[in-house]
């Protein structure tokens, strides 16, 4: 499949204003990055499932980096236990709808950001519509049900999916390219029976770590810069300072992307 970086012809890319050139002056000097990469970021639309400690950090980093459009999905209101890791929310936001708080903070970071804000989590009913609006999907949900729904839609719509997840001080990330690499169901066809959405220990350090990796994967996919984690799972454990890349492969019997998959 083509990456978003290959889709956008140079003459289709939006120009950068003088103000934007000043904003992004320091990253424009990254080796092999340059003006075209910055224009590709401005032209990109990224959908993020849940905008909490992980997804919210991805949104914040992409807004800072100059990604033009984000599609966000997250339900509920800001609660006390969110504030140890959700960088887009503050104490004054307690009790307010999460998606509105996230919208407000992201627009403070980048008032030019185009935002589509869904006040619901991803479901089987809305996944197709949300994925259809984006070039790339990022999954930061604590729910396996939501993750599998996003994965199915990303495969069906042939969209790259950047997957990042954590628990306690461990985490991992990968980039799934439909038709080329494994999908989530290839590597983890079932969730652990012990997993609950609110049951995992979390401190901001580990969610931010994997979010940073995920945001960089998005930037790489959009711009063609550097090497992605396609076909690899980057595992980390902050308790023992381990970072290890694992090779992952497609499963021919995967019910989502393999020969056993049902046509859409």
């Amino acid at each position: 499949m083509n990456s978003p970086a290959e889709h956008k012809e140079l003459n289709e890319l939006p120009p950068l204003s003088e103000f934007e050139l000043q904003l992004y002056a320091r990253q424009l000097t990254l080796p092999e990055f340059g003006l075209e990469a910055q224009q590709k970021l401005k032209a990109a639309t990224v959908m993020i499932s849940r905008v909490g400690g992980l997804g919210g950090t991805v949104a914040m980093l992409l807004a800072r980096a100059g990604v033009g459009s984000l599609v966000l999905a997250h339900d509920g209101v800001i609660e006390h236990e969110n504030l140890n890791r959700m960088h887009l929310a503050f104490r004054e936001d307690l009790g307010k709808p999460r998606i509105e708080v996230f919208r407000e903070t992201l627009l403070k970071i980048n008032p030019d950001l185009r935002l589509v804000c869904e006040p619901e989590n991803v479901t089987e009913a809305n996944a197709a519509r949300l994925v259809a609006q984006a070039d790339i999907v990022v999954d930061g949900s604590p729910s396996f049900e939501e993750r599998y729904a996003m994965n199915r839609e990303a495969v069906r719509q042939n969209k790259p999916l950047v997957m990042a997840a954590m628990s306690s001080l461990e985490g991992y990330a990968s980039t799934f390219l439909p038709g080329e690499t494994p999908c989530l169901s290839c590597i983890y066809p079932e969730p652990p029976e012990y997993w609950t959405v609110l049951g995992f220990p979390v401190i901001a350090t580990s969610s931010v770590l994997v979010a940073t990796i995920a945001a960089m994967e998005v930037i790489k996919l959009v711009t063609g810069y550097g090497e992605t984690l396609a076909g690899q799972l980057l595992y980390c454990d902050l308790s023992s300072n381990i970072f290890q890349r694992m090779q992952i492969e497609r499963r021919h019997d995967c019910e989502v992307c393999g020969a056993a998959a049902q046509p859409a």
Partner: protein
């Protein structure tokens, strides 16, 4: 000796150790030896049919044992064996 890296959910069976050195052999032999020193850990790895649980991946030197010889994959001295269960937290 080979090193087995233990994920957080299984560390209650390993006195909270994140890595354990074991004699080389096969993945199955390592896990059997692990069960001897850390009773209860096998039930976290294997399902009722004796297969690796579907939400767990085991990697030897970064390669998924499902693409090698499964639990009969040889493990040499200084090899690294990672047990990586599925996570979804954010």
């Amino acid at each position: 000796m080979a090193t087995v890296f233990i994920p957080t959910p299984m560390r209650k069976f390993t006195q909270n150790k994140s890595r354990i050195s074991l004699a080389a052999g096969t993945v199955a032999a390592l896990f059997a030896e692990l069960e001897q020193s850390c009773p209860g850990v096998s039930a976290q790895i294997y399902d009722a049919e004796g297969a690796i649980k579907r939400y767990i991946n085991v990697f030897v030197n970064g390669k998924d044992i499902r693409n090698l010889a499964g639990v009969q994959t040889p493990v040499e001295d200084r090899d690294d064996v990672y047990i990586v269960p599925a996570m979804a937290g954010g």
